[in-house]
C-alpha cells in the first residue's frame, strides 16, 4: 500500500496538465478545422457536387435501340421510331412497285407497306432468310414496315460506344448509318430512313 502512495507523491501535476492541454487542442483541432481547411473541404465538396450533373448527362447519352437480325447480320434501330413489331403472316405483293417494296399487309385495318431494306440498300442477296417479322417504323409524316429475320430485343447502349461507320465493312450507305457498336451491331438511322424521299413511291403512267 505504501509504494503507490509514494508514487502518488511523485506525480508531476504540471506535466499532466500540459499533456491534457495538448490532448484538448488536438481534440478541438479535429472537430474545428481551420478556415483554410474548411475552405478546402467545401471546395472539394462543391466540385463533387458540380460534377454530378455532368454524370447525369452522360446517362442521357444512352440510346434505346431495338436489335434485329437481317440476312445473318445484326442491326439495331433507335426504339423511338419503332411503333411495334409484329409477325409477318400474310403479304400481298404489289405489281408496278420497286423491288424493295415487298408488298402490303393489313395491320388491324390499316394498310401498311412492307419494305426490304436489304434491297433498298442494294445489298447483295445472301442465302435464304425467313423475314418473318415486321418492324413498324413511324414518324409524323411517314409509316412503313421493314422486314427482319428475328428480333433481338430492346437494350440501351452508350452513345460514346458507337463508332462511326465502316461503310466498306457492311455495305450500307453512310447516309442511313448511325454507326457500329463494338459487337459489330449496325445501328441504322431510322429518322433519316423515314424522311428519305427516295423511299416514297410516287409514280404515274405517262
Amino acid at each position: 500500500m505504501s509504494a503507490p502512495q509514494k508514487n502518488n507523491k511523485a506525480i508531476d501535476w504540471s506535466e499532466v496538465k500540459q499533456r491534457l492541454e495538448t490532448a484538448r487542442i488536438a481534440i478541438e483541432h479535429i472537430w474545428a478545422p481551420t478556415a483554410g481547411e474548411t475552405k478546402q473541404v467545401l471546395e472539394e465538396r462543391a466540385r463533387a457536387l458540380a460534377r454530378e450533373p455532368a454524370q447525369a448527362e452522360s446517362a442521357d447519352e444512352r440510346i434505346e435501340v431495338l436489335e434485329f437480325t437481317l440476312a445473318h447480320e445484326r442491326y439495331a434501330i433507335a426504339s423511338e421510331h419503332v411503333r411495334e413489331v409484329y409477325p409477318l403472316e400474310e403479304l400481298t405483293p404489289l405489281p408496278c412497285t420497286p423491288s424493295f417494296v415487298l408488298g402490303i399487309v393489313n395491320l388491324r385495318g390499316e394498310i401498311l407497306s412492307v419494305i426490304d431494306i436489304k434491297k433498298f440498300f442494294d445489298l447483295p442477296e445472301k442465302g435464304l432468310t425467313d423475314l418473318n417479322k415486321v418492324i413498324v417504323l413511324e414518324s409524323e409524316h411517314m409509316v412503313f414496315g421493314i422486314v427482319a429475320d428475328a428480333i433481338g430485343g430492346v437494350r440501351r447502349i452508350l452513345r460514346a460506344d458507337i463508332q462511326p461507320s465502316l461503310p466498306t465493312l457492311i455495305g450500307i450507305r453512310e447516309d442511313y448509318l448511325q454507326g457500329v457498336t463494338a459487337e459489330r451491331v449496325v445501328i441504322l438511322d431510322a429518322g433519316k430512313l423515314l424522311a428519305d424521299e427516295k423511299l416514297i413511291v410516287q409514280e404515274q403512267v405517262e
Binding site: 400474310e90 412497285t97 435464304l128 432468310t129 423475314l131 416514297i200 409514280e203 404515274q204 403512267v205
Partner: protein
C-alpha cells in the same frame, strides 16, 4: 424534361392552329357578308362578330406566344373598332385590305418555315397600312398585293419547273398548293355530342358479346375436357376389344377351313359384360355431348347474329360521323372568287345551291383542289371581260353556279357552271394537234363533244397566254384523275359554240356519297387477285379463242360489232408470264378466255384475266404513306377472308394498255420448248415463312416445276395424302410439325416412303445435319449459303 416541354408546346400549337383557323374562316365569312349588303340592318351585328373573332384570335395567339399574329390583330382590331363606331365606312379598298390581312394571318398559321424576323419585316407594311386605314387613308391597292402574293408565289412557281421536266404526276400538288385557305381542317373534325354518344353507347354494348365469347370459350373447354375423359375410358376397354377381335378371327378361320375340328375357341365370356357396360356408358355420354354441342352452336349462331347487327350499326354511325356538309368546303369560295375576278378585272358572282348536303369528309377534302381548279378555269377562260360581255348582250357581271344535288344510288352530283364564252372546239382540236395527241385527220372526224372532252387530256389548253392562274392545260387532267380516283366521273357540257355569245360551260361531277364502299369485281391473274371498280367495267365476258384476231399486230376481240383491243392484264401490270397450270390446260375453259372490258369516256380496252371470281362490295383504303402513288393501282381492300387485294386504277390501266405494244397474247402462250422436257414434275414446298415460301415457289416455277405449298409439316403431310408429288423441299423449324418429323413420317409411310426430301434450313450445326440424314433426308441445304442454282442442281440430281 426539355423533350416533354417541346411535345407539350407542339400539342398546344396544333390546338391553336385549329382554333385560329376557325376564327379566320368566321372572319372571312363575315367580311363577305358585309361586302354583299353593307346597308342592311345587320351591319352592326356583322361588324361586331368579325371584331370579336379578331379579338379572340389575338387572345389565343398571345396564349401560345405567337407575337406576329398578335401584332397584326392589334391594328386590325382598331380598324374594326372604327367601323363599329362608325368613324369609318366600308369601301372596296378597305375590304381589299381586310381580306389581305386575313390572308396574311392565314399564312402565318401555316408557315412554320422561316425565322420570325423576316416574317415580321414582311408584315410591317401591312401593319402600317392597317394603322393608316383607321384614319381613312388607303395606299394604292397595287402595293398591297405583294404582301399576300409573297406567300403564294413560291408555291405557285415551283410547279412550272416540274411541268416542263417531270411527269404531270407531281402536278397534283400545284393545284392544291395555292388554294385560298390552306387546309387545316383535315386533322380535326367536329362531331355532334349526340352522334358521339350514340357511338359510345354501342361501343360499350360490345362488352356483352365479349363476355359471351368468353363464356363460349369456357364451355368449349369443358367439352374438350369431357371428351378427353371419354378417350381415356375408351383406351381402358381396348384390351377387352382385342380379346373379342382375336376370338372372331379364330372363329372365322375355323369356318373357312371347312375342317370340322371341334376346337372351337373359347369365347371370352368374362369380357362381354365389361364391353356392354362401356357401350352403354358411351351412348349416354355421346347423347350428352351431342346436346351440349347443339346448345353451343345455337348460342354461337346467336352471338354471331348479335355481333353482326352491332358492328353493322356501329360502322354505319361511324361512317356518318365522317359526313360533312358541302358548306364547310364552300364557305371559303366566295372570297376566293371575288379576289381572283378582281385581279383579272372581271365581275363575277357565285351562287351556291345545296351546300347543306353532306358527304364523306375524305371526299370533300379530296375534292377541294379540283373544285378550286374548275372555278379558276371558269374565271380565267370562261367569264369574259365586262366590255365583251356587254357587246354580246350579257349582263356585265358573270355568274358561276355551284349546285350540289343528291342523286339516286348513294351518289351526289356537283355542277360547276358559268355563263361565259364556252369552249371553242376548234381551238381544242388545234391544241391537241399541236401536242400530237391526235392527228389532223383524227381531229377532223371528232364531234364537237369529243373535241371538248380532249381538254381533259394533259397538256391541252386553249389559253393563248399562260398566266399564273391557269393555262398550262394540266389542271383538267388532274381534276379528272382526282374524281376518278374517288370512284366518280366528270363530264363537260359546253353551250352552243357557233353562236357568238357562247353558251357557257358546265362541268358535271358525279361522286359516291361515301368513299368507303363501292362494288368491285374480283379477278385472278396467276396467283394474284385484284379488284376492279365495277363502275368502270363495261362488261365481263368469255371470248372464244378463235374470235381473237390480230389487227396490225395487236390482238382484238369483237364486241357489239366493233373491234376492241385486247391485252393481258398480267402484262399490263408487269407481272412475269407464267406457264399455264395443268388443270387449266385439261379443263374445258381452254377455248374460252375470260375478259373484262374497261372503259372511260370513249376509250375501251379488253383485259384478259385468268378468272373472274365475282362481284362484291369492297372498302378501298390507301396504300399507306410510303406508297403515295403506284402505277395502275388505286388502293387496297381487305376481303371477307382477311386477304388483302390491290384495287386497280382503271384510267391508268387504259393508258398502260395503250403504251404497251405487246405481241398478241394468244401467240405468246405456248410454253417454250425447253420446259416441255421437264413434263411438269410436281414439288411440294413446305415453309412457314411467307417470304421464303414465295421465293422458293418462284424459283421452282420458273425452272418449270409444278409447285404446291404448305405452311408447316402437318399441312404438308395432309397435302401429301391428297396429291402426287415427285419431291419435297422443306424447311426444318416450323410450328406444329417440323421438317425432321415430316421427313421421318414420310419415310415411315408405305406409299410415300421413297419420296425424295430436300431440307432447307437455318440450322447449320453438324448435329442437325446428321439428324437430317438420320431421319432420311436426301439433301440438306443451309439457308445462309443458299443459292438457287445449287437448289436446282440438287433437285435435278434427285428426280
Amino acid at each position: 424534361m426539355a423533350k416533354q416541354n417541346d411535345a407539350f408546346l407542339k400539342k398546344l400549337l396544333a390546338t391553336f392552329r385549329v382554333e385560329a383557323d376557325e376564327h379566320l374562316k368566321a372572319m372571312s365569312a363575315g367580311l363577305v357578308k358585309l361586302e354583299k349588303n353593307p346597308a342592311a340592318g345587320r351591319y352592326a351585328e356583322i361588324v361586331e362578330s368579325v371584331f370579336r373573332e379578331a379579338h379572340s384570335l389575338k387572345g389565343a395567339a398571345r396564349a401560345v406566344n405567337i407575337k406576329e399574329i398578335e401584332s397584326v390583330c392589334q391594328p386590325l382590331e382598331s380598324v374594326l373598332a372604327a367601323l363599329k363606331g362608325n368613324q369609318l365606312t366600308v369601301s372596296p379598298p378597305l375590304f381589299d385590305l381586310l381580306y389581305q390581312t386575313v390572308d396574311a394571318l392565314g399564312g402565318l398559321l401555316v408557315g412554320d418555315a422561316g425565322t420570325p424576323e423576316p416574317r415580321q419585316v414582311r408584315l410591317e407594311p401591312l401593319i402600317r397600312r392597317l394603322g393608316n386605314a383607321v384614319h381613312g387613308q388607303f395606299a394604292q391597292s397595287g402595293m398591297a398585293r405583294p404582301v399576300t402574293l409573297a406567300q403564294h408565289t413560291p408555291t405557285a412557281q415551283l410547279p412550272d419547273a416540274q411541268v416542263e421536266t417531270a411527269a404531270p404526276a407531281e402536278a397534283a400538288a400545284p393545284v392544291a398548293a395555292p388554294s385560298p385557305v390552306t387546309s387545316l381542317t383535315s386533322e380535326t373534325v367536329r362531331v355532334s355530342t349526340q352522334k358521339l354518344d350514340a357511338v359510345m353507347r354501342q361501343v360499350e354494348e360490345l362488352l356483352s358479346p365479349r363476355l359471351a365469347s368468353a363464356q363460349r370459350a369456357k364451355e368449349l373447354r369443358e367439352v374438350t375436357v369431357s371428351f378427353v375423359t371419354w378417350k381415356k375410358q375408351r383406351a381402358r376397354i381396348r384390351p377387352t376389344l382385342r380379346l373379342i377381335e382375336r376370338y372372331a378371327e379364330k372363329a372365322d378361320n375355323g369356318a373357312a377351313g371347312g375342317l370340322h375340328k371341334f376346337q372351337a375357341p373359347e369365347f371370352p365370356a368374362k369380357a362381354l359384360p365389361k364391353l356392354l357396360e362401356h357401350l352403354e356408358a358411351e351412348q349416354l355420354f355421346m347423347k350428352a355431348l351431342e346436346e351440349r354441342l347443339l346448345r353451343l352452336s345455337k348460342f354461337a349462331a346467336h352471338d354471331r347474329h348479335t355481333l353482326a347487327g352491332m358492328s353493322d350499326s356501329l360502322l354505319h354511325d361511324v361512317k356518318e360521323m365522317h359526313l360533312l356538309p358541302f358548306a364547310s368546303l364552300l364557305e371559303s369560295f366566295p372570297r376566293f372568287i371575288r379576289e381572283l375576278a378582281r385581279d383579272e378585272g372581271k365581275q363575277v358572282e357565285l351562287t351556291v345551291q345545296g351546300s347543306e348536303i353532306e358527304i364523306d369528309r375524305r371526299i370533300l377534302e379530296e375534292m377541294k383542289a379540283p373544285l378550286i381548279h374548275l372555278l379558276r378555269n371558269c374565271i380565267d377562260h370562261g367569264i369574259e371581260q365586262p366590255s365583251v360581255r356587254q357587246d354580246r348582250g350579257k349582263p356585265p357581271h358573270g355568274t358561276i353556279t355551284v349546285a350540289i344535288a343528291q342523286k339516286d344510288g348513294g351518289k351526289i352530283e356537283i355542277l360547276v357552271a358559268d355563263d361565259g364564252a364556252g369552249i371553242d372546239a376548234a381551238k381544242v382540236k388545234a391544241a391537241a394537234c399541236r401536242l400530237g395527241a391526235v392527228s389532223a385527220e383524227e381531229a377532223d372526224k371528232l364531234s364537237a363533244q369529243e373535241a371538248q372532252a380532249l381538254i381533259f387530256q394533259s397538256g391541252i389548253s386553249t389559253s393563248q397566254i399562260i398566266t399564273d392562274v391557269s393555262g398550262r392545260g394540266l389542271g383538267l387532267a388532274i381534276v379528272r384523275e382526282k374524281v376518278e380516283r374517288l370512284g366518280g366521273t366528270v363530264s363537260l357540257e359546253s353551250g352552243a359554240l357557233e353562236s357568238r355569245d357562247g353558251g357557257g360551260t358546265s362541268f358535271r361531277i358525279v361522286l359516291p356519297l361515301m368513299l368507303a364502299t363501292f362494288r368491285g369485281v374480283l379477278v385472278r391473274v396467276g396467283e394474284h387477285c385484284f379488284v376492279i371498280p365495277a363502275l368502270s367495267i363495261e362488261r365481263a365476258a368469255r371470248v372464244n379463242q378463235q374470235d381473237i384476231l390480230t389487227v396490225e399486230n395487236r390482238a382484238t376481240i369483237p364486241l357489239d360489232g366493233q373491234a376492241v383491243a385486247l391485252t393481258v392484264l398480267g402484262d399490263v401490270l408487269e407481272l412475269p408470264r407464267r406457264k399455264l397450270p395443268h388443270q387449266d390446260k385439261t379443263g374445258k375453259n381452254q377455248e374460252k378466255t375470260p375478259v373484262v372490258v374497261l372503259g372511260v369516256g370513249h376509250q375501251r380496252v379488253a383485259f384478259q384475266v385468268d378468272e373472274i371470281l365475282g362481284e362484291q362490295e369492297v372498302l378501298v383504303k390507301t396504300l399507306g404513306r410510303q406508297l403515295a402513288r403506284v402505277r395502275n393501282i388505286a388502293g387496297a381492300s381487305v376481303l371477307g377472308t382477311g386477304q388483302v387485294v390491290a384495287v386497280l386504277n382503271v384510267p391508268d390501266l387504259l393508258k398502260s394498255a395503250v403504251r404497251q405494244a405487246a405481241p398478241p397474247p394468244a401467240a405468246a402462250e405456248t410454253p417454250a420448248g425447253t420446259h416441255e422436257a421437264a413434263e411438269k414434275q410436281a414439288i411440294l414446298v413446305v415453309e412457314d415463312s411467307i417470304t421464303s415460301r414465295a421465293l422458293l415457289k418462284n424459283i421452282l416455277e420458273s425452272a418449270g416445276y409444278l409447285v404446291t405449298t404448305a405452311v408447316d409439316g402437318m399441312d404438308a403431310y395432309t397435302t401429301l395424302k391428297t396429291g402426287t408429288f415427285d419431291l419435297i423441299v422443306s424447311d426444318v423449324e416450323m410450328p406444329r410439325m417440323n421438317g425432321f418429323d415430316l421427313t421421318a413420317k414420310v419415310r415411315a409411310d408405305k406409299r410415300l416412303g421413297e419420296l425424295p426430301v430436300v431440307l432447307v434450313t437455318a440450322l447449320e450445326s453438324r448435329e442437325h445435319r446428321e439428324r437430317g440424314i438420320d431421319v432420311g433426308a436426301n439433301a440438306y441445304i443451309v439457308k445462309s449459303s443458299f443459292d438457287q442454282s445449287n437448289l436446282l442442281e440438287v433437285i435435278r440430281r434427285l428426280i
